[in-house]
Assembly symmetry: C2
Homo-oligomer: 274 residues x 2
């Protein structure tokens, strides 16, 4: 069975929370800045304090790339820390890559083999041969961007095609026909909770990753109403509201409290189902 790592974590932790590691050096507690690798130390403490409630972690690659070699080292350490200490937890490289085949192959090697993430977010714009290289690694997965939660998602993703469907629906329907498409999951923004229900119908067997509850304003109840059924193929991400719950020495404890709060609400919705 594919993705059983996610499913078993959801069952065990009564949670479908992914914690986004969008680690901004300007937002982490100042007391960490004197350490050798403040970004890793921050991530480590966040992971240590939230892993009881989180089924997945999603480092946002841009925030590491912005620090060049140091950022790469931090990212590598975070991936290794997760894989060593919490191998049951699912990891997502939020990289939004995608290029012609031989180039996507290189990105896939970087994130799924060398950095050893379980999955990567990929942009669909360049089509099948830009995504398929990411699907050729054993037990590795793709989160394909379908409908994102930002303002600009309206520019193209919601354009209506001449067959009366929207572009993001075409992205989902078309990608279901690609090689190894059973390993494709979809990113669906939280601001469009009714669309989550439509997408659920288009691809009932695919995991949906909803970014952006908390700081990005998504409503968990509405998301679950439309996206959660007995198959439990839903992952909901929160980044800033958890990792920046406090900017003082109690940041890890406050992050834990926030993660627990979200997990408690998730458990309520799960209890209605399983």
């Amino acid at each position: 069975m594919l993705n059983n790592k996610i499913h078993s974590q959801i069952i065990k932790k009564r949670s479908f929370l992914c914690v986004g590691l969008d680690i901004d050096i300007h937002k982490i507690p100042k007391l960490l800045l004197k350490l050798d690798d403040p970004i890793f130390e921050f991530a480590k403490q966040i992971i240590d304090s939230t892993n009881k409630y989180a089924i997945a972690y999603k480092p946002n690659i841009a925030f590491f790339e912005a620090h060049g070699i140091h950022g790469y080292k931090s990212l590598e350490k975070i991936s290794k820390y997760l894989n060593t200490n919490f191998p049951e937890i699912f990891t997502i490289a939020d990289a939004k890559r995608g290029d012609i085949g031989n180039t996507s192959q290189m990105y896939a090697k970087a994130f799924l083999k060398d950095l050893d993430f379980d999955s990567i977010t990929v942009s669909p714009y360049m089509g099948s041969d830009s995504v398929e290289p990411f699907l050729s690694f054993k037990n590795k997965y793709v989160f394909l961007l379908a409908l994102t939660s930002n303002k600009g998602s309206r520019d193209f993703q919601e354009l209506i095609m001449n067959n009366s469907t929207k572009l993001f629906e075409s992205v989902i329907r078309t990608s279901r026909r690609w090689k190894n498409s059973d390993k494709i999951m979809y990113v669906v923004g939280a601001k469009n909770t009714k669309e989550i229900g439509n997408i659920r119908k288009i691809t009932p067997d695919s995991y949906i990753l909803v970014p952006g509850i908390g700081a990005q304003g998504g409503n968990l109840k509405e998301i679950c109403k439309h996206g959660l059924d007995e198959d439990l193929k839903l992952i909901v991400n929160s980044s800033r509201s958890i990792i920046y719950a406090s900017d003082s020495s109690d940041f890890a404890q406050m992050a834990e409290n926030e993660a627990k709060k979200i997990q408690t609400e998730m458990e309520k919705y799960l209890n209605n189902i399983v």
Copy 2:
């Protein structure tokens, strides 16, 4: 005047050739592998031998990311080498990034400020706020993916909208209305030479970057017929046919010969115009 670096190079060198640095460690001459940094050494020799004929260089970021920290160091050295020795030559980070605003801001910092490239390729899928952060840096530019040359470009880019235009046309028309859109140039694949003419009409004042003559099979004559006019807003890339012209000790000389051959043909088309 925007982009005058490109224009003055085209006039001076009678060329609109961009050399793509898709440097695959398995394809470069074996004699370089004993050096400390084979990738940088290869790039340096390619740049030294082809800069008389090239107006731009385009490192393909995936090929560097696939080597982790070492790749980042090579990339950094290449950018510095170009900016120090050939500041008049335009540089393009072929990164195909694009994310929500605060994240694109991080990518923009990494490539346009820290690595100091003149421009970056960006995917349009997430819309305005995913692209605009790249346009906020002085004298820095974006190559927005419009129509790419790979097979998968048909999957979404050529979909017909309910207003009878194709998605890539919408990408171009819509992006012309974004803030600082005078700094957006477009990637248009070489296999669709007639589409280059259509795109030329949609946005007569924008540079078009055509990837993939040579190994990707684009036909320079056809590209120029549809894409080159008296404004000279055309850049044509060749990667593999130049940089892998030979895998022996004569690789730099053979790359020069290949670049010169392409420049000579470009000069012919330029002579018909200016």
